[in-house]
């Protein structure tokens, strides 16, 4: 396979939490006196959105949208404790698959949901999409909001699970970033020429589609119970030609919009 980098599309934008946002630490280790369901934080103790969380969520939304959620196409990545179910992601060997093309394939052998074993190494290309960690924009959490937060940047939300027979509540708590918080996000889409065939703007358009799907869904935990509605705002899309890396040429802005719904691209 002959692969050439033609250029890079760079999307810079803000991710705005329209409702509270909970992206969990993933490990459930209980800190003594801590919150039992904390959000991920950077070295400075500020919450952020890991690029991997964004990418993973967008991938799964694209899998549904592109009709790739089929038994023979799903790879089991992680078995649940009881072994009856696992987390499935779509990986295939189809060169024209936009999901695998944008989000990438892993090397090595995979076990498919239907039991078969497959190796997609031959189809592995340099990953087209890179999603950076999205850092909190400090001033998006105003002083007025901060006065009312439980922790420096976050709040603790309580939820009750009520027994339908006794009416007794079983409270759970989790930490979340308050609505209104904004994060600085960056996506990079590599434009490739594979065996003489140029991607053109196919994959940057697919990324925008994935962003639209995410606005219609949720990011992070407790999404079906209110959290995680996000919007992309202050969007700028740049294109940086391959040559720009060898010269002083500045990347061009090829599209911009105050909100995703206004983006003409």
């Amino acid at each position: 396979m002959d692969v050439i980098l033609k250029g890079k599309y760079i999307v810079k934008c803000k991710i705005k939490a329209v409702t509270g946002l909970h992206i969990g630490e993933g490990n459930n280790s209980l800190e003594i006196g801590g919150i039992d369901n904390a959000v991920v934080k950077d070295a400075e103790g500020k919450p952020y959105i890991p690029g991997s969380s964004l990418k993973g969520k967008m991938r799964s939304l694209m899998e549904f949208a592109e009709g790739k959620v089929k038994d023979e196409l799903l790879v089991v990545t992680k078995g649940e404790r009881d072994g009856t179910s696992g987390i499935h992601i779509h990986i295939c060997g189809d060169e024209d698959c936009v999901v695998c093309g944008l989000f990438g394939r892993n090397h090595g052998k995979h076990k498919l949901k239907n039991g078969e074993e497959r190796d997609f190494t031959d189809a592995v290309l340099p990953t087209r999409l890179i999603v950076r960690d999205a850092k909190l924009i400090k001033k998006s959490i105003t002083d007025k909001m901060k006065e009312n937060l439980d922790l420096e940047w976050t709040e603790v939300k309580f939820e009750n699970n009520i027994d339908r027979i006794t009416s007794k509540a079983n409270p759970r708590q989790s930490e979340r970033v308050p609505a209104g918080a904004e994060f600085e996000a960056e996506f990079v889409v590599n434009r490739l020429k594979v065996d003489g065939e140029d991607d053109g703007d196919l994959y940057i358009k697919k990324l925008i589609q994935a962003m639209r799907l995410l606005e219609d869904d949720y990011l992070g935990g407790q999404g079906t119970r209110g959290n995680g509605k996000v919007q992309f705002v202050d969007i700028k899309i740049f294109y940086k030609d391959r040559d720009a890396y060898f010269t002083q040429k500045q990347p061009q802005v090829i599209a911009e919009a105050a909100a995703l719904k206004n983006l003409q691209f």
Binding site: E159, T224, R225, G226, K229
Partner: protein, 396 residues
Amino acid sequence: MSKTYEVEVLTPLVIGSQDKLQSFEFIKEGDFLRVINFDKLFEMSISKEGLIDTITHALETNPRGFRLDDVVKKYAIDVDKCTRYKIKLDGVRSLPNEVVSFVKSAGRAYIPGASLKGAVRSFLTKALKSTLLKQYENALSSAYEKKIKAIDQRRNGVSPQEVDDAAEVNIFFQSYFSPFKFLQISDTEFVLYENMSGYEIKVLNICDNKVKWYNRRGNFDDPQCGLSIVAEGINPLTKLKGIIKVGDGFVLGNEATGGLKDKFVNIASYKNCIEFLAEVINSATEKYISSEIEFYSKYKLTQIVAEYRKLIGILKGLAPNQFLIQLGFSTGYYSKTVGMFFEKESFAKLKVVDNNSKIYPELFPKTRRVVFKSGNISTIPGWVKVTIGEEMLKDF
């Protein structure tokens, strides 16, 4: 597909947060309640000699008699600079030392998606086929037997928070496979404080077949002697928007879950998941309101009966994408459980299983929470009308 939903508050809606406002955080100013940021007040008063000592002394010796407004006056504090917000007190006759605080995010009140989803789940459960409802009563019976054994062996045995677990899993499956995974309800937009008020709630308690009003010292004929709970609530007529997504899997199921379609009776031919959801909830609401009307009629509480009749009128006139539901604080045992379908004998079992609550098997529940306005019975809290709108076109 995401759609907007709109909650229209019909009767004062209270969704309590974990914290209560304490007397040192608010000042009553005529018909208004001013809520103070106590930390800020402290900061502002570092220069005012003696103020912090006065406050801490008062709170240590006589917290109930503490009046923040006296302190504020004495030390000439500019309260506007340390005010969180002000809300109206709507016909509140007596203001207790604590006010139930509405749930907030960074100081802004909203309806959590979790509260609305919880209410939806509660009402859907009430609409289940009788064979499925029976599973809850069976779960109670087995909890009862377990508890009796445990008492014999001097163990605790049963947690009142887990009595429904077996029935819940049987009917709605383990959470990973649950149809409720296909129902997403976002938090609403924030509520303006001008659309919120302090509401006075009293506890009605039926004793010897008579209406009494509860307080810690006993039960009284005169409601003015009854305990007053004051809570922050959203005013009737307020409308708030959020986003809802009901996947087809919710009703029809998929390879992982069976969906909800066959779990209810008398549901007119299935058109779409939104209309299905609304129809099922409304069928439960009608049963629930009818049984409440029966209760309040028996004790001649005409104002509440009239309020519920009004709700029935609204229920009858709903469009296929609308439903009526009760949520939040002070809505009572029947609203949150399937207890209205239990045989009378089951409450004797409930009394054993949940021995920390006051349960009178002859009449359970025998209490109700009622909103008072200017000393008169006004309404019941927590009723809202939800309209599921067109496909989402704009922000909240």
